[in-house]
């Protein structure tokens, strides 16, 4: 027997419920009322409509044909004014009285309007339906709009209008954006991204009054007196379940319409679904539970026993191209611990909140690819103790459920280029493998693939793995050394992410297999720690190679070489006399001029080092750091001082650079040169960082080498002034310090990250450049000093034998 069903509200929940009902071929005669003059559409897609990515037609979920085919009587644009539950009838706006067997509330929610003075002015709107969206779309470019509310809806509105060229300001009462879904750090990253898109964001901002003119909104006045002019004011501060009609007809109502697990209200003939309901104390705004309710309601109407169960909720959001994810509970509480991973360079932030070996909550920003996996762990309350060390890096780093990394490569066509340096395609590699090249070395030898910069090594290995199947053994990622299975990159990430500021902390957190590392990992860790945490970490001489521990270069006979600094390669007769005197006094067997324009005193005994340093210090000279993984020399030509071709003061710039950079530690040695004209007499284009002066400024290029590999630098940027050149060089040095693997020269690092990646952070993004310079300067407040003077003064005894038993021997 066909029953009469009246549905109040054509929202997403009721639309889904009707689908389920019709799919089950239920015998219901449906009348659908909707106060909005249209049928069901996907309300969460209003944002793409606002930003212009979609049209309204594209977000309609059910059209006239569908209603027709299912016999739905549509009464769109009509409200219901009263319900008589005893008589089981509703009364429509036009006075029609219609009987029902079952009634479903899907009245949704109303936007909450803050009752500020002036909130009734023309031009003050909410963001809830297509009408609101149209108002925002009609606001032309260069008009001003203020959005009150820094939650998801407010930010979607702001981003959509900003994309249309509107000058948007977001006013948020809390300290950071989206405080319900995000913690402070993720909120900060989101804010930064929005500001970069030209949106003004004001947090901790209290609205006082909406100011008008001739009945129209003119500005928003904040409590602090700031006046934000606007042509449109959007309030997006939250929603309230729409319970008016339910309340009037006497249904049990709290925050929302009370429903049981079957979605039945206090009246067994009346159901409710969606944002208007309250179930077990909770109200709902996200789509997943609404759809679940819709399914349950349909089952109930069909006479089946289905129950709605509240589940752990996750939010995966996309606001203006910023990927966000949050799930569970991430508030600080006793007994909870955090695992945090941050990659400031990529704008990535991940935080997991752990309690009793179970993840309670997760916040992710920037890279949410692994969010489903984390959400599963939260939902299933998985014990994570076994994977705790690498948990934050996601499923690809766990033992249990590896992703299939081969799928992407397997899908490539034969003419896909694998090795960009040598132009080798996948097909050529496959042919070489078929001809008997069954390991990386053989493929390299026969095709040159991955033989140049090496960045495609992983791809070549994957082609091998696909072609050979089980016969190919994938070499494990190269670990730092035998003390750990982790790579340099893993360790650096963990040092940054977990803010590890001591070597024992790294050994502990990264699961070092030895008690205190070895001669390979300790110098690397010492560098990573001092580069990432200059203020917190104390340099450890015992983890440095002897040259850096004793500030001199050890020679094959155990003696040392001493190279005093000559700024930019400039010296004086007085300095030369002092060097000559020192060479005589300490009987230096060899005096040599170096390739970096310095003088090298070779063959100094360890115990004489403090003495010779003190002599050189007295003549005004300091350590030349010829022994360090750090700034070595800035080689210069004479430039405009003397040269008839010189275009700029190359010597002066070289001296300035050396005075700024000296003492800084870097992943490997760092050699610079400044040439005064493109004739390039200082050979700047084979240095780690080279400057070639031209009439119009300074060409800064990086990634040269003249050692085992010979490479020409590549142009990073040309800048007009010396100050710019110095800033760019400091920034590139800091970027290299923060990101490169220990013992990679700049050219090797550049081969891995790419020149474009470096350029983005130093040339394209001036704020990033400024921040890098600031971090470099901070570090230099600790390290820009002469170690020779300090050692000669405080550690001279360490250079002497601990004891001399010669006399006792004679006894």
């Amino acid at each position: 027997m066909t029953q009469k069903l009246i549905v109040v509200g054509a929202g997403m929940a009721t639309g889904r419920m009707l689908e389920a009902l019709f799919d089950a071929r239920a015998c219901y005669n449906v009348t659908l009322f909707n106060a909005e003059p249209r049928g069901n559409y996907n309300r969460i897609m209003l944002s793409p409509v606002l930003s212009g990515e979609k049209t309204y037609d594209e977000i309609v979920t059910h059209d006239a044909d569908w209603y027709d085919a299912n016999g739905v009587t549509c009464r769109f644009g009509e409200s219901i004014i009263s319900i008589d539950r005893d008589a089981k009838t509703v009364t429509a706006e036009n006075g029609d009285v219609i009987a029902y067997d079952k009634l479903v509330f899907g009245t949704g929610s109303n936007p909450f309007m803050i009752p500020l003075p002036g909130h009734e002015l023309e031009g003050v709107i909410a963001y809830r339906d297509l009408e609101d969206t149209q108002r925002m779309m009609d606001l032309g470019p260069d008009n001003k709009c203020v959005v009150i509310g820094g939650g998801l809806l407010g930010l979607e509105a702001a981003a959509g209008m900003a994309a249309r060229g509107v000058d948007v300001t977001v006013v948020h009462i809390m300290g950071h954006l989206m405080e319900r879904q995000l913690d402070e750090a993720a909120g900060y990253l989101l804010r930064k991204a929005l500001v970069e898109k030209g949106i003004t964001v004001k947090c901790s901002a209290n609205s006082k009054e909406i100011l008008g003119e001739n009945g129209r909104v003119r500005a928003l006045l904040l409590v602090d007196g700031t006046e934000l002019a606007c042509d449109l004011l959007v309030m997006a501060v939250g929603i309230r379940p729409n319970v008016k009609l339910a309340q009037e007809c006497g249904l049990a109502v709290g925050k929302g319409i009370h429903v049981d697990d079957h979605m039945l209200t206090s009246d067994a003939s009346v159901l409710a679904v969606g944002e208007c309901v309250e179930h077990d104390g909770a109200i709902f705004g996200l789509v997943a539970p609404l759809y679940e309710q819709a399914k349950v309601a349909a089952q109930t109407l069909l006479g089946a026993d289905a129950r709605f169960v509240q589940k752990e909720l996750s939010t995966k959001l996309k606001v203006t191209g910023c990927d966000l994810f949050s799930a569970g509970d991430f508030a600080d509480a006793e007994g909870r611990e955090d695992i945090v991973f941050r990659d400031p360079a990529r704008g990535v932030y991940r935080r997991l909140v752990i309690e009793g070996n179970v993840i309670k909550g997760a916040v992710m920003y920037g890279d949410t690819a692994d969010s489903n996996w984390f959400f599963g762990l939260i939902r299933d309350k998985t014990d994570i103790s076994d994977m705790r060390d690498t948990l934050i890096f996601g499923p690809a780093y766990q033992g249990g459920t590896p992703l299939d990394p081969l799928a992407a490569v397997a899908a490539l066509p034969r003419d896909a280029e694998i090795c960009g340096c040598n132009g080798i395609c996948k097909g050529q590699i496959e042919d070489a493998i078929a001809a008997g090249a069954t390991d990386l070395g053989a493929v390299r030898a026969t095709t040159k693939a991955s033989g140049s910069c090496g960045t495609c090594t992983g791809l070549v290995e994957q082609v091998l793995a696909i072609s050979l199947g089980d016969k190919f053994v994938m070499p494990a990622a190269q670990s730092v050394c035998g003390c750990t299975d982790m790579t340099h990159e893993d360790v650096r990430r963990i040092i940054k992410g977990q803010k590890l500021t001591s070597m024992p902390a790294v050994w502990q957190e990264c699961g070092w297999k030895t008690s205190c590392g070895c001669h390979i990992c300790r110098p690397a860790l010492n560098f990573y720690l001092l580069a990432d945490w200059p203020m917190e970490y104390q340099d450890d001489p015992q983890s440095r190679f002897i040259n850096e521990r004793k500030h001199a270069n050890i020679q094959k006979d155990g003696t040392f070489s001493v190279v005093p600094r000559m700024w930019g390669g400039i010296t004086t007769p007085d300095e030369l006399r002092a060097i000559a005197d020192a060479a005589d006094r300490y009987m230096v067997p060899t005096v040599k001029v170096t390739g970096g324009q310095r003088i090298d005193l070779l063959g100094v005994k360890s115990e004489d080092l403090p003495g010779i340093w003190a002599d050189l210090n007295a003549a005004g000279m300091v350590s030349g750091h010829a022994y360090s993984k750090g700034l070595r020399t800035v080689k210069t030509c004479v430039g405009t001082d003397h040269c008839r071709f010189g275009t700029q003061d190359s010597t002066g710039l070289g001296i300035k650079l050396e005075k700024e950079l000296w003492g800084s530690w870097t992943p490997h040695k760092l050699k610079l040169a400044v040439s005064g004209c493109p004739r390039n007499c200082a050979e700047a284009t084979c240095k780690d960082i080279g400057v070639v002066c031209v009439d119009s400024g300074y060409q800064v290029s990086i990634g040269g080498a003249a050692g085992m590999d010979v490479k020409e630098t590549e142009l990073l940027v040309q800048v007009p002034t010396e100050e710019d050149a110095i800033d760019v060089i400091k920034a590139v040095t800091q970027l290299y310090r923060e990101n490169a693997r220990y013992l990679d020269r700049i050219y090797k690092w550049m081969g891995k990250v790419g020149l474009d990646w470096i350029r983005e952070r130093i040339v394209d993004d001036l704020q990033s450049r400024t921040e890098l310079v600031a971090r470099f300067e901070l570090s230099q407040t600790i390290y820009r000093k002469d170690p020779w003077a300090e050692h000669a003064r405080t550690k001279a005894d360490r250079y002497q034998p601990l004891a001399s038993l010669s006399l006792e021997a004679a006894e």
């Binding site: 030895t514 008690s515 205190c516 590392g517 070895c518 001669h519 300790r522 110098p523 001489p541 015992q542 983890s543 440095r544 190679f545 002897i546 521990r549 004793k550 050890i554 094959k556 155990g558 360890s606 005894d797 360490r798 034998p801 601990l802 004891a803 001399s804 038993l805 010669s806 006792e808 021997a809 004679a810």
Partner: protein, 111 residues
Amino acid sequence: MTDWIDIAPLDDVPRRGARMVRTALGCVAVFRTAEDEVFALDNACPHKAGPLAEGIVHGKSVTCPLHNWVISLETGRAQGVDEGQVNTYPARIEGGRILLDRTFLYARAVA
């Protein structure tokens, strides 16, 4: 018979470090590990006579500064694929001071 001689306070040698002791018969390197054990070895790597006292100390080993041979502080033997051994000498700590055995130090002359 042992003849312990007082060399220096333990704190004169840094943890995970070494200092050199000069004797009439060549130099001896005195090592202090992270766990405050002391070891004494000839200050010359079996490979190219590199000064072991200038090496990096890790666990109970030292890495020679010249070519990265790893030498066991307990046995004086080269680790891994390298072959060779240096002399080791009894060393101990007493009352915060490092002691070496004179008998053994001079026995080298006989050997």
